[in-house]
Symmetry: C2
Subunit: 325 residues, 2 copies
């Protein structure tokens, strides 16, 4: 009797669709290019076509459609506000457009919140009731599960750890993302090179310093380059302080860190853990706390979109999923 | 049929006990000195005696006993860990001691969390489902209600906005409380006086600068003293930045600021609101957001302790209280 679930991952590059059974077992998966440059109408049409591909003959067998989308978006209304990597999207009523087409319940969640649900349901956080998920790549996103439910806030704008303000110098306020995401890691290295710093990246990049990105910095750090190591370490410390804030506000049992920048491993995680140890108020917050890399790979958004349907948009306690499964 | 509730406010100075009906209407109230210097056993005995005073003839009419206590404490176990203003308290199983005596359900909550429940039930936040409460006095405490339920975390240590780390100078990390609570407001004034700053407080305090506290600074600021005004404004900005962090993580509809320091009114609130406006990521977080002073006075802890019983320790949605009442 348990119904199947349709999951969609709307990314800046790819649209992916999948069908899962009620235990999040993958039954079918399809993908195509987003072609975001064609604008929202064309992209939503492509989404519909790829949902069609994974729909079974009878829609009665389907519990609903879950969509992971770049934010900001309002999960209560299904309106996607204005994602930086989806040009031309301006208050697109994505949830309504998909629901009108398929006459099924539709849940839309921002990609980081959806990933938090995925890690709690099938990833590093299985069985956890209090989980903080952070993804560090071009930006820093986060999703938080408190007592088994997604923290959404009044308009679904909660859980934005990447944007919390930090004072970096007297009277200069920045944010976690502006100091610690991939572009910031590269920017610090380029600024140091411009100031004459020694680094293997100077030769690698030749005269074109704009080529230097977080991936190149990570590779140089892995080879022992002190400038690259120091830029990653600074990012790790800033993320560690953001984690301290999350520990004090949510007192979780698990912090999951995902995203491309975590491929640098201990070069990021060692300073991150050190910052947590240095700045936490009390040992009780870190006793038995796990800080781990994300367990799910490329399918995290699809698994999370399926979990979004199973939890009715994050409103049903994830503990109920375990009981049902 | 609706049962009555016993509420206890354990403070550093006073113990207060009360009996409420199921709509939080006060039926009886008693109080005595805590005499914390006599240690935990004597204090718990005094609590028992003052619970007895408000207990009706039949315990069958009582839903439970709610206790507001200084933290840190674990609301899941009812163990009070080591409050700074209760000397000698070291992992006191307060909930169990009271439950053993009265054979009634007992719920223990830290005073700031309990105050958040009180403001949401009967104060500035009636009808709100997403509320952040901050109290600014000798310390900075907070309590957070997300989607109708108290945010507690794994061990009840969540919602500590006062302790989030802030970088105040390159490589010097402080906390919201260490920068913006009453003692910090006074400390900055004293440091400036020691450096020769002009202020009406120099004459008032005579040679005994240690007399200067946040109350005196507030009074001088109200008279237009620039040094006092500037110290309050700095505190307001720091609290405003902490509120920005809370908005980004919880996306509430209401922020309630209570505690003695809020008696300074706009001298604190104007720079606080300015910092929120300056540092918030997006206008959506502050659209229709209310930032208000606490509405409940001295009874906030008792009302909150009663709400703690009615919500079974913050686990029942506060929306259910409205339906029942």
């Amino acid at each position: 009797m348990a119904k199947q679930i349709i999951a969609v991952d709307l990314g800046g590059t790819q649209i992916r669709s999948a069908r899962y059974d009620s235990d999040f077992k993958l039954l079918q998966r399809e993908n195509t290019l987003t072609r975001a440059e064609l604008g929202p109408i064309a992209t939503v049409e492509r989404m519909k076509a790829y949902i069609d591909r994974v729909l079974p003959a009878s829609r009665d067998d389907i519990q609903g459609i879950g969509i992971s989308s770049p934010g900001p978006l309002n999960p209560r209304t299904g309106v996607v506000i204005a994602p930086p990597n989806l040009p031309g999207w301006d208050n697109v009523p994505l949830g309504e457009m998909i629901a009108d087409e398929f006459k099924l319940p539709v849940y839309v969640g921002n990609d980081a919140n959806v990933a938090a649900l995925a890690e709690a349901s099938k990833g590093a956080g299985q069985g956890c009731r209090h989980l903080v998920y952070i993804t560090v790549s071009t930006g820093i996103g986060s999703g938080i599960i408190s007592d088994g439910r997604l923290v959404s806030g009044r308009d679904g704008l909660a859980a934005e750890l990447g944007h919390i303000p930090i004072i970096v110098e007297q009277d200069r306020v920045s944010s976690v993302e502006l100091e610690a995401a991939g572009p910031a890691i590269a920017r610090r290295v380029k600024a140091a090179l411009a100031n004459g710093a020694q680094s293997s990246l100077r030769d690698q990049a030749g005269s074109d310093w704009e080529r230097i990105d977080a991936r190149l910095v990570g590779a140089a750090a892995a080879q022992g380059d002190p400038l690259a190591i120091s830029s990653l370490a600074y990012a790790g410390r800033i993320i560690g302080m953001a984690i301290v804030t999350a520990l004090l506000l949510f007192n979780p049992e698990l912090v999951v860190v995902g995203g491309g920048v975590t491929k640098t491993g201990e070069l990021l995680f060692a300073p991150l853990r050190q910052a947590v140890a240095d700045h936490i108020l009390d040992g009780a917050y870190v006793k038995d706390l796990r800080i781990e890399r994300a367990a799910l790979g490329d399918d995290v958004a699809l698994v999370g979109a399926a979990a979004l349907v199973a939890t009715a948009g994050g409103n049903i306690d994830i503990g109920e999923l375990g009981k049902r499964a």
